[in-house]
C-alpha cells in the first residue's frame, strides 16, 4: 500500500462524516450565507477553533467575492487554497548526526511514534539509537523495549525512577562512540502546566545542546489529533520551554480531523512533519498538506 492510499484510508472515515453535507452545498452552487454557515460548522467540527475558522471564512469570502465565483469546482479550489495557505507545508530534513527529542502530554502516543520513527529511518539505511528517558511511567521502558526490537534498533534505558537526564547523557555518549546517525529520545508524558516537569524537560534539552553540539537537534511535539483547542496551549508552553521545531500529529486514523493544527499555524510557524495513522510500525507518514486539507473538508 503506497503512502498516498494509506493516509487516504486513514482520513476516509473523517471524510464520510461531514463530506456529505458539504457536497450538498456545493451542488447548490449558491455561495451565500448558508454556504458560509455550513462551512463554519464543518471547520468548527474539525477542531479548527472559533477564531481561526472566522479568519479562514473571511479570507475565502473576500477571494470569492472579488473574483465573483459561482461554480462549485472553482469554489472548492478556492477553499482548498485558503486552507493550504493557513498551514505550513515543510518536510523534515535530517542531517547526521542528529538527535530527535520527542515530547508531549500524557497519552498522545510518544512511545509508539518513536517505534515507527526508528523503523522509518532504519528503512532509509540509517543507524538509530533510542534513549528511554521516560523513567516515570510504569513499564514505559518495557513498552519501548518491544518497539525497539520491532524496529531493530538499540535502546539505552535506566531503571524506573532514575534521572531521565542521565539516560540522555548516556545515550549521547553511546551514539558518539558508535557513530550512530540518529538518536531518538523518549520522554515522560507531562501536562504542560506542571512547572517542575517542564523544568526537567529544559534540563534534558540543555544536556543535548551541551553534550552534542555537533548534532542537529530536532524537538518534536507529539499531538493527539483527538485533542481540541488545548493543543494550542500545549504548543505554546512546550515551545516556550524548549523551542519546538515541528509536530507529529497522531491518531488520525480515527474520526478526529486534527483541525487544531490550523489554529496552531496561525500562532506559530510550526510545520507538521509526520502523521500517525495506525498502530502498525509502518503507520507513520510524512505530512501532506494537500491530503490533510482534503481530509478536513
Amino acid at each position: 500500500m503506497g503512502l498516498f492510499s494509506k493516509i487516504k484510508e486513514g482520513l476516509k472515515k473523517t471524510k464520510q462524516s461531514i463530506g456529505f453535507a458539504f457536497a450538498q452545498l456545493f451542488k447548490k452552487g449558491v455561495f451565500g450565507e448558508d454556504f458560509y454557515d455550513e462551512l463554519e460548522s464543518i471547520l468548527l467540527s474539525a477542531d479548527v477553533g472559533s477564531a481561526t475558522t472566522q479568519t479562514i471564512i473571511e479570507q475565502l469570502r473576500e477571494d470569492m467575492t472579488r473574483d465573483k465565483i459561482s461554480s462549485a469546482d472553482k469554489a472548492n479550489q478556492y477553499l482548498k487554497e485558503v486552507l493550504l495557505a493557513n498551514l505550513y507545508d515543510e518536510q523534515l530534513e535530517l542531517t547526521t548526526p542528529s538527535v530527535i527529542l520527542i515530547v508531549g502530554v500524557n497519552g498522545v502516543g510518544k512511545t509508539t511514534t518513536i517505534g515507527k520513527l526508528a523503523h522509518n529511518y532504519v528503512k532509509q539505511g540509517k543507524s538509530v539509537l533510542v534513549g528511554g528517558a521516560d523513567t516515570f511511567r510504569a513499564a514505559a521502558g518495557e513498552q519501548l523495549d518491544v518497539w525497539c526490537s520491532r524496529a531493530g534498533v538499540r535502546l539505552i534505558k535506566h531503571e524506573e525512577g532514575s534521572d531521565p537526564a542521565s539516560v540522555v547523557y548516556d545515550a549521547i555518549a553511546s551514539a558518539k562512540s558508535k557513530n550512530t546517525d540518529i538518536v531518538i529520545i523518549d520522554t515522560a508524558g507531562r501536562l504542560h502546566n506542571k512547572k517542575n516537569l517542564m523544568e526537567e524537560l529544559k534540563k534534558i534539552n540543555r544536556i543535548i545542546e551541551r553534550e552534542y553540539p555537533q548534532a542537529q537537534q530536532v524537538n518534536l511535539l507529539v499531538l493527539d489529533a483527538t485533542t481540541g483547542q488545548n493543543a494550542v496551549s500545549q504548543v505554546e508552553i512546550f515551545d516556550q520551554a524548549i523551542s519546538i521545531d515541528g509536530i507529529v500529529l497522531t491518531k488520525l486514523d480515527g474520526t478526529a480531523k486534527g483541525g487544531v493544527v490550523f489554529a496552531i499555524a496561525g500562532e506559530k510557524e510550526l510545520p507538521v512533519y509526520f502523521v500517525g495513522v495506525g498502530e502498525g510500525i509502518d503507520d507513520l507518514m510524512p505530512f501532506d498538506a494537500q491530503e490533510f486539507v482534503e481530509g478536513v473538508i
Binding site: 477542531d47 510504569a138 501536562l191 493527539d224 483527538t226 488545548n230 491518531k251 474520526t255 478526529a256
Partner: protein
C-alpha cells in the same frame, strides 16, 4: 487564552444598557454569540453548543433580565445554571453488584489513561473498604500488563493476568480468582481502541455478553475536542456505558468535552483524574467544570452568597460611609459578620478567580480568628468603636482581658481595621464598586 472571562465580555455587550434601560433583541443575540464562542473555545461540541444557546436564549428572553440592573450577570447566571443542570447536579457513585464480585469494565480510546485509572480506582475503592482486583485484559499494547501490575502494586490492590489470551477468558478467570480469594470488586483494564474498529468493539461486546458487569465506564481525556461526542456515542451505542471517567483534568484544558459527552450520552460523570499520583482521583463537581468552561472562578457563587448575606440597605449605608470616610469599627464588625455568614473563608477565597488554594495555605484564614476578632470589637465601648484613635495601651489591655485575648490580638484587629478603612477610601475615590 483569548477568552479568559466571559463575564467581562457579556458585561461589555450590555454596557450601553445603563443609559437605555432596556435590552434589545440584538443585544441578546450578541450576548448569545459571545457565549457560543466561549463554549466552542472550550471544546464544547458545536451541536451541543447550538442546542445549549437556544435554551439559554429562550430563558434569557423569558426572564426579567431586561429590566435588571445587572443584565450581564443575570445572563451569566442563567448560563451557569443551565450548564450545571446539564452536567448533572447529583453525584453518582460506583455501583455495587447484588451478587459479588462487582465487575467494572474500563474502556476508551488509546492514551485516555485507562491503565493508570484502574490503579487509581482500585485505590479509591480500597479506601472505602472494598477489596479490589485489577485485571489485565489489554493483550495488545506492549508492556500494558507490566504497567498495570506496577500500578496495582502502587495502589496496593490485587492484580490478575493470564497473558495475552482472549480477554473474555481472562475476565472469567479473574472472577473465579476473585471468588476464591475474597476480592469483592473486579476492575477490567481493556486495550485502547478506536470506536470505528468493529473488530475490537466486538471484543468488548463479547466480554459484556459473557459476564455480569455492573459498570462499564468510558475513560475520556479532558483535552478531547469535537470528536468526543462521536467517540462517546459510539461506545455507548455499542456497549451501553454506565458512566464516564474524565482524566487529565489537572491540565489547563477548559474541558468542554465533558459537557458534550454528558449531553450526548446522558450518562453520569462518575470520577475525575486530577494528577500524576495514585491518590489523585476526585468525585465529579459539575459547578467546577461549568466555571472552567466559561473561563472563570466560582464568581457566581460568591456573588450569590454576597447578595444573600449583605442586604441592599447595609450596602447603601456602607457606600455612604466610605464616601464620607466615616467607616468605623462598628461597620468593620458588620462587615466581618456578613463574611462569617458567607461561610468558610477559605472556600470564599478559592472562589475568587486567580486566587489559588496554594497561596491560601500561607494566609491561614480560619474561622476561629474571625470569632476572636468579633469578641475583641464587642469588648470595646461604643466611643472606642466610633473612634479608634482613643485606643491607647490601657484601653487595649482592658479589651484584651474582656475578650479573653492578648494585647497583640487587639493590636492586630485595630491594624486590620485601619488597613480596611484605607483600602475602602481608595475604592471610594476610584468610584469603583465594592465587592459586597
Amino acid at each position: 487564552m483569548a477568552f479568559s472571562n466571559l463575564t467581562d465580555k457579556i458585561n461589555h455587550v450590555f454596557a450601553k444598557l445603563k443609559n437605555k434601560g432596556a435590552l434589545s433583541e440584538l443585544e441578546i443575540k450578541q450576548a448569545m454569540r459571545e457565549i457560543r464562542v466561549a463554549l466552542l473555545e472550550a471544546d464544547v461540541n458545536i451541536t451541543v453548543a447550538k442546542d445549549f444557546i437556544a435554551r439559554v436564549g429562550e430563558r434569557a428572553t423569558g426572564e426579567n433580565i431586561l429590566k435588571s440592573l445587572t443584565p450581564g450577570q443575570q445572563v451569566i447566571k442563567i448560563v451557569n445554571d443551565e450548564l450545571i443542570e446539564l452536567l448533572g447536579s447529583q453525584q453518582s457513585k460506583i455501583g455495587v453488584a447484588s451478587r459479588l464480585p462487582t465487575v467494572i469494565m474500563m474502556c476508551g480510546l488509546q492514551g485516555a489513561g485507562k491503565t493508570t485509572m484502574c490503579g487509581k480506582l482500585g485505590r479509591f475503592l480500597a479506601k472505602q473498604g472494598k477489596k479490589p482486583l485489577v485485571v489485565a485484559c489489554d493483550i495488545y499494547r506492549p508492556a500494558a500488563i507490566n504497567q498495570l501490575e506496577i500500578v496495582s502494586s502502587k495502589a496496593n490492590v490485587g492484580f490478575f493476568q493470564m497473558g495475552t489470551i482472549n480477554p473474555t477468558k481472562i475476565a472469567k478467570g479473574a472472577i473465579d480468582y476473585a471468588n476464591k480469594n475474597g476480592y469483592d470488586t473486579v476492575i477490567l483494564d481493556t486495550a485502547g481502541r478506536l470506536h470505528v474498529n468493529t473488530e475490537l468493539m466486538q471484543e468488548l461486546q463479547d466480554i459484556k455478553k459473557n459476564i455480569d458487569i455492573t459498570e462499564i465506564l468510558l475513560v475520556v481525556d479532558a483535552m478531547t475536542g469535537q470528536d468526543a461526542v462521536t467517540v462517546a456515542k459510539a461506545f455507548d451505542d455499542s456497549l451501553g456505558i454506565t458512566g464516564v471517567i474524565i482524566t487529565k483534568l489537572d491540565g489547563d484544558t477548559r474541558g468542554g468535552a465533558v459537557l458534550s459527552i454528558k449531553a450526548v450520552t446522558n450518562k453520569p460523570i462518575k470520577l475525575t483524574g486530577v494528577g500524576e499520583k495514585i491518590d489523585d482521583l476526585e468525585p465529579f463537581y459539575p459547578d467546577r467544570i461549568a466555571n472552567r468552561i466559561l473561563g472563570m472562578g466560582d464568581v457566581l457563587t460568591l456573588i450569590e452568597k454576597a447578595e444573600q448575606t449583605f442586604s441592599q440597605e447595609q450596602a447603601r449605608t456602607l457606600a455612604k460611609k466610605i464616601k464620607e470616610s466615616t467607616f468605623d469599627l462598628n461597620d468593620f464588625l458588620v462587615q466581618m459578620e456578613s463574611v462569617g455568614k458567607m461561610g468558610n473563608l477559605g472556600d470564599m477565597v478559592g472562589m475568587i478567580p486567580g486566587a489559588s488554594k496554594l497561596k491560601l495555605g500561607d494566609a491561614k484564614l480560619d474561622e476561629g480568628m474571625v470569632a476572636r476578632n468579633k469578641a475583641i470589637i464587642y469588648s470595646m465601648t461604643r466611643k472606642e468603636r466610633e473612634n479608634s484613635k482613643l485606643l491607647n495601651y490601657s484601653r487595649r489591655k482592658r479589651i484584651a482581658q474582656g475578650s479573653g485575648t492578648s494585647v497583640q490580638d487587639v493590636n492586630k484587629v485595630v491594624k486590620q481595621y485601619e488597613q480596611t478603612k484605607e483600602m475602602m477610601k481608595r475604592f471610594g475615590k476610584k468610584g469603583a464598586k465594592l465587592p459586597f
